[in-house]
């Protein structure tokens, strides 16, 4: 059997960040770094392929399955390729009371996609998520780390225009 070279690797800056994360935990508890390190991986690759997960496993001295079972449990990790911007809108009760269904319907119609789909130009992926803890400022969606709150159809137009540039 021949060793296949690692096709994936963190950038030097991210590798430093990963080492800093691992160092936070007591000796032998590096598995605690898994969720934060998966966020760093997703930041770099946009989604978590099995190659990326295997790479993370090797860095943390874990079995690959320990990474898969975590990545598939938590909703923030993308297990398939996504567009440049992932729009995650809150579909839970309070946001719907604030007109969320209308706003999200408009968003999907505007982009021509259903939840889980990516626009043909690869710019936007739309995902439905549960409560984002911003109920008083709904309807709400999140794009990467940014929260967009008190959404209206006009605001959706502005955001999409801005990100389409």
């Amino acid at each position: 059997m021949t060793e296949t070279p690692n096709l994936v690797a963190f950038t030097p800056e991210r590798l430093e960040k990963v080492k800093e994360i691992i160092a936070r935990y007591p000796e032998g508890r590096q598995k605690s770094a898994l969720l934060p390190v998966l966020h760093v991986a997703q930041e770099q690759w946009g989604w978590l392929s099995s190659e990326v997960m295997d790479y993370v496993a090797s860095i943390l001295s874990l079995e690959p399955v320990e990474v898969y079972e975590v990545a598939t449990f938590y909703t923030m990790y993308h297990l398939e390729p996504v567009g440049k911007h992932v729009i995650e809108y809150c579909r839970t009760g309070p946001c719907c009371l604030m007109g969320g269904e209308d706003i999200y319907g408009y968003l999907k119609q505007k982009l021509g996609v259903e939840p889980g789909e990516t626009t043909k130009d690869g710019l936007f992926t739309v995902k439905e998520v549960e409560c984002l803890a911003a109920c008083g400022w709904g309807p709400v969606f999140q794009i990467r780390e940014k929260y967009y709150m008190n959404l209206t159809r006009e605001r959706v137009d502005e955001i999409i225009d801005e990100l389409s540039k």
Binding site: R24, P26, R29, K31, S32, A33, L34, L35, P36, L38, H39, L60, L62, E66, E69, V70, F73, Y74, T75, M76, Y77, R91, T92, G93, P94, C96, L97, M98, V129, E130, C131, L132, A133, A134, C135, G136, W137, G138, Q142, E145, K146, Y147
Partner: protein, 446 residues
């Protein structure tokens, strides 16, 4: 003006920085605790304060601290639960992003009290921007000698770590949170052993909510007795209420426990009333999992007494006519809200968020979602109403963690108080399944 323990300085420009927070009296409680008090004395003040867990369970925090096992040579941990995910609840989000040093100061005091040298703040991963705010604040506090080795020359060391979650409501359950913090799926643990004996890394651990811990600086500065004197009876202190839904001014408000529900909804200091031109139909007072109340049981209890914002008054009448303060996620519904649709929405949430470990919850939440979906979309039968009640009863109390109860209660209470609305959906399927259709029957409004 009502007393503000957590939010007095929340709107001060620059309060997210160490310097401004310090100018406003910040970190004096750390100085007082570490320089002049023993850890036991700090625990004693927490007990005297009577403060109850603000995450939803309402368990006395000082008593929880008192359960912490202290075997020799074994590290102890404090973990702050900042996984705020209960629909309707956004107070911790607001507090952490606006005044991060308040939580950090509380964490230092609480860690000192418990003898923890490494403490964690577990924040839901979606709030990455808040995590960055907290990490920056921690760096500032460290640079000023309030964190790290030998804090204020006392010999006490504390490292404070912000952990990001990955998106899972269940991790707000304390043992699921600990599993997640260990880098695993968020499956709740069987209890006992309780975290106080075997928690993080099988070591004694206390898990407390953000708001609970953020009260500690005030408790230390003013004394536990002063805290206990605020509020009403066993509902001591203030509470952050996340107000959302059909009100004039959604937002986070700090109330003294014991304010009337009527005042909270109608006063301009708080919600500013139900949105103009509309009427109050229903209320979820403490986050999506607590029983929903119809209009006639919101302002007054079944006995005709004023309903107050307190643990006791909100639960007056039990589940037959009362509810719970829970996390303080206060969701207001006016007459345009369809209870069936909202109940289906919440059931879908719990189905999505069930960890899948216990069959009654894994299967039952899915069944409830499906049955509610068909009622809402015009395919229900009268038998479905009793079927929902039956499923909810079979979930409740039959799971490792409270998510099962949390999923069962909103469904059971919606049917208990709004049965005729479910019947209308079933007997008028075409009309009821139109977008925006709402039952206009003999529902009592306020």
């Amino acid at each position: 003006m009502a007393i503000k323990i957590l939010t007095e300085h929340i709107n001060v420009p620059g309060i997210e920085t160490f310097d401004v927070y310090r100018q406003k009296g910040g970190y004096t409680a750390v100085e007082k605790a570490i320089k002049t008090m023993t850890p036991e004395a700090v625990v004693e003040e927490a007990k005297k304060s009577g403060i109850r867990g603000r995450g939803g369970a309402g368990f006395p925090m000082g008593m929880k601290w008192g359960f912490l096992a202290k075997p020799d040579g074994v590290p102890r941990y404090l973990v702050c639960n900042a996984d705020e995910s209960e629909p309707g609840t956004f107070k911790d989000h607001h507090l952490m992003k606006s005044i991060p040093h308040l939580l950090i100061e509380g964490m230092i005091i609480s860690s000192f009290a418990l003898g923890a040298n490494k403490s964690f703040i577990y924040v839901r991963g979606e709030l990455m921007y808040v995590i960055r705010i907290l990490e920056k604040a921690i760096e500032e506090a460290k640079a000023k000698g309030f964190l790290g080795k030998n804090i204020l020359g006392s010999g006490y060391d504390l490292e404070l770590i912000v952990q990001s979650g990955g998106g899972a409501y269940i991790c707000g359950e304390e043992t699921a949170l600990l599993e997640s913090l260990e880098g695993k799926r968020g499956n709740p643990r069987n209890k006992p052993p309780f975290p106080a004996v075997k928690g993080l890394y099988q070591s004694p651990t206390v898990v407390n909510n953000v708001e609970s811990i953020a009260n500690m600086p005030w408790v230390i500065n003013n004394g536990g007795e002063a805290y206990a004197a605020i509020g009403i009876g066993r509902s001591a202190g203030t509470k952050l209420i996340s107000a959302s839904g059909h009100i004039e001014k959604p937002g986070v408000y700090e109330i003294e426990l014991g304010v009337s529900v009527e005042e909270f909804i109608n006063s301009d200091e708080y919600c500013g009333g139900v949105r103009k031109g509309h009427h109050l139909k229903a209320l979820v007072a403490g986050g999506s999992s607590v029983p929903i109340l119809p209009a006639h049981l919101i302002m007054k209890t079944a006995n005709g007494e004023d309903r107050l914002m307190s643990y006791e008054s909100l639960s007056d009448g039990g589940f037959a006519t009362g509810t719970m303060l829970g996390s303080g996620g206060f969701i207001v519904f006016d007459e345009t809200a369809c209870i069936v649709r909202n109940t289906w929405n919440f059931a879908r949430f719990y189905h999505h968020e069930s960890c899948g470990q216990c069959s009654p919850c894994r299967e039952g939440t899915g069944w409830m979602e499906k049955v509610l979906h068909r009622i809402e979309h015009g395919h229900g039968s009268m038998h479905d109403i009793d079927l929902l009640v039956d499923i909810s009863k079979k979930i409740e109390g039959n799971t490792i963690c409270p998510l099962g109860d949390a999923a069962a209660w909103p469904v059971a209470s919606a049917i208990r108080h709004f049965r005729e609305e479910f019947v209308w959906h079933i007997t008028n399927p075409k009309e009821a399944s139109l977008p925006g259709a709402v039952y206009q029957g003999a529902m009592e409004l306020v």
